[in-house]
Amino acid sequence: MTPSVAQVWEWLGDVPDPEIPAISVVDLGIVRRVTWTDDAAQPELHVAITPTYSGCPATTMIRRDIVGALHARGLERVRLDVELAPPWSTAAISASGRDKLRAYGIAPPDPDAVVACPRCGSTAVECTSAFGSTPCKALYRCTACREPFDRFKCH
């Protein structure tokens, strides 16, 4: 039996980002579309995804993880289409994704909001490095609770 598109979205929601496992590839806005082809005899699942940062080494793993997760659910005919346009931005990260990032200790990317320490909530923070351990993050320090933390860069 062919699972519904909604079911597939739910399964993809369980595929974690390899670099930040607290958040799924759906939360990150990497998955753009899920569709079944019309071919009734042998339907094929098309999943359209978009890369986050151009040079992010996790992109290859994300593709493998998505296909692997769908195969594990018994879907054999899966095609992954990678779309560049429109370019991914941090605006594509879901509200629940932002909450998960914060709970994980990463300040989420809110272009209008002031950066707040994910641990104590203070906005008395300073950027210690514009680049961090992955292409998506910058390093910050909270001057209230003294904890260093990652911030997901606005992009």
């Binding site: 890369p51 151009s54 040079g55 560049l84 346009a85 931005s89 490095s129 514009a130 680049f131 351990s133």
Partner: protein, 254 residues
């Protein structure tokens, strides 16, 4: 154009765009483990990673346009210096940190303007890659601007080194804006010609150099050739290091 014929101008354009990212990325990678401070180690690695990511997109597309089934890896590892189309600026040695930063700033300021223009290209794939790369290039420019101002308007020592770096690298910038037949052909097909970027680039650069108290040298010697495969002697050494492993064990996998 005959159906099936290789779109030579488009192919050349894509090699130029891809090789700039690939060669500058490779230059920066050589600094890993040698950066002056930890934050710069991270910055250099991240900028190099972005540039390599851009190069992969441009060179993959170049391979498709060529139609000879060459992959991005074939392009990177199995072309000789004379087949590379990068600007002379990006192959210049890392030198001191001042040289590295001035080279980066001159490139970043051009890159941001070029990607902005290419984002409106009539070729949808070129526009998509440019739109993807642009926010990353913006971030690079923020970093290199910051360093140019800090070191230019810094100590006597840092100022002198930055001024010397600028004098040494400035001549290589003219090539970025020199149009040839390829550029003119593409301009006729809706891809912005390089000379049309110069005014905005110069305006951006002048503003930063003024804040950095650095004097832009007079335009004099203006070497060109990178876009048609005539490189400085530095490129061959870089390629030897970058390509030797892949060429000594072709097809090998990790």
């Amino acid at each position: 154009m005959n159906a099936g014929a290789v779109d030579h101008s488009r192919f050349e354009f894509l090699l130029r765009a891809g090789d700039n990212g690939l060669i500058l990325g490779q230059r920066l990678v050589a600094l890993l483990g040698h950066a002056p401070v930890l934050e710069e180690e991270l910055g250099i690695a991240n900028v190099a990673l972005d540039l390599l990511g851009h190069a992969r997109m441009w060179l993959s597309y170049a391979g498709e346009v060529e139609g000879a089934k060459r992959t991005e890896d074939d392009m990177a590892f199995f072309r000789n210096a004379g087949e590379f189309r990068n600007a002379l600026l990006v192959e210049q040695p890392n030198g001191s940190f001042a040289d590295t930063i001035v080279r980066q700033f001159l490139f970043d300021a051009w890159h941001v303007r070029a990607l902005g223009a290419w984002s409106a290209s009539a070729d949808e794939r070129i526009a998509a890659i440019a739109q993807k790369a642009k926010p990353e290039a913006d971030y690079h420019l923020t970093r290199s601007c910051d360093w140019v101002v800090r070191l230019g308007d810094g100590t006597d020592e840092s100022h002198a080194r930055m001024q010397a770096a600028l004098v040494g690298l400035w001549p290589y910038t003219s090539e970025l804006f020199a149009a040839d037949g390829v550029d003119r052909d593409l301009a006729a097909r809706g891809i912005v010609a390089p000379e049309d970027l110069r005014e905005a680039w110069l305006h951006d650069a002048q503003a930063v150099f003024a804040r950095a108290t650095l004097a832009i040298p007079d335009d004099a010697w203006a070497p060109t050739g990178g876009k048609r495969g005539l490189h400085t002697e530095h490129l061959s050494y870089l390629l030897a290091e970058m390509q030797s492993l892949r060429r000594s064990v072709p097809g090998e996998r990790w």
